[in-house]
Subunit: 227 residues, 2 copies
Amino acid sequence: MKKNISKAVIGRLPRYYRYLGEMIEEGTERISSKDLAGRMKVTASQIRQDLNNFGGFGQQGYGYNVRSLYNEIGKLLGIDQQHNLIIIGAGRLGQALANYPNFSKRGFVIKAMFDENPALIGKTVRGIEILSIDELEDFLKNNEIQIATLTIPKTEALRIFDRLKACGIKAFWNFAHTDLPTERGDGLFVENVHLSESLMQLSYRVYEAGREKNPYGTKQTGKDKLK
Amino acid sequence: MKKNISKAVIGRLPRYYRYLGEMIEEGTERISSKDLAGRMKVTASQIRQDLNNFGGFGQQGYGYNVRSLYNEIGKLLGIDQQHNLIIIGAGRLGQALANYPNFSKRGFVIKAMFDENPALIGKTVRGIEILSIDELEDFLKNNEIQIATLTIPKTEALRIFDRLKACGIKAFWNFAHTDLPTERGDGLFVENVHLSESLMQLSYRVYEAGREKNPYGTKQTGKDKLK
């Protein structure tokens, strides 16, 4: 089942999941594809097509049962499983992730953070301990960890990536501003979050829309003019 | 010029920019589409097609001049301009962004952070002051700000979004786990970074690849088995 689902559809699943979760919180029990479309600002036909990929959970004249659609999409996303994570790099970004309560609600449990900075080692963030990076291999031998999060500078990333691979880690959530090299068939999964690239896409879109005019629509003074 | 460029191409531009920047640091002056393709693990024909969208900067038999291609893509991305940002929400994530040195190198200058927490107001991160959220409107009246970054809980996001729009802010870099409502033609630009959705896409891919087998390829003990 569930073969050949396009990347675009997969990319939309977490957003369905989020909207459905909000509807559960509001007490909505069922919703038509038209109403769901209205909320999500997509077309009803896209919703029907997307959800048909998974066998379609709606019924003619009834719409979708919010809770069961939520559960089914959660299963597809692997959220019914517990995923144990570690974070390499306990700086502000690593700590921000450790501090985020929603990850564990969705089954993503951060088991430890690692750093090389003696000022950080031994501290805890929301009960998650910061260990020395020297303990990485021992820790991975003694704990079931599925996902490694890299919040380290790009200059460190490849060395750490190799160490993690050697310990059998297959899934990487990468915030380091570099590509982690994978090959077809090596069984590795990398999801990148390149923050500055997302910021550049924002500025591209702003500038593309208004290259001839004042792009941001703000007043321009001589002193502060963009140059 | 530069019309009708697909979203996919635009999405790839920051990655070209990053690779070219690394080549400049290494002292590489020119590169063929074949060698660039090898580095970036895409096909040479995709590189030629992508760059042809912008008039193509390569020359037959010579390849691309790394520095001028870098500069041209930088211009397309608006990086030759200075963009002034504020960050709403001076928690760990907001502070992590404020602490990131590469943004200002690329022309994204963070001018202030805002928070409602008295324990944070008045502090600075890398010289960037944390102001009271009550000062938001005054600050925006007296400073040219183009981009607002939201690192606040979703429950606060819409209220802050409205206040920022009322001050004329058009571009939003949104980390709040909700969609900011925009309408076609309203001239607003939103770039979302939904961290937990990126994590779910990672777990989807891992599970999709190995639903029947042990998905992460790690040993499974009775105690630690995923459940």
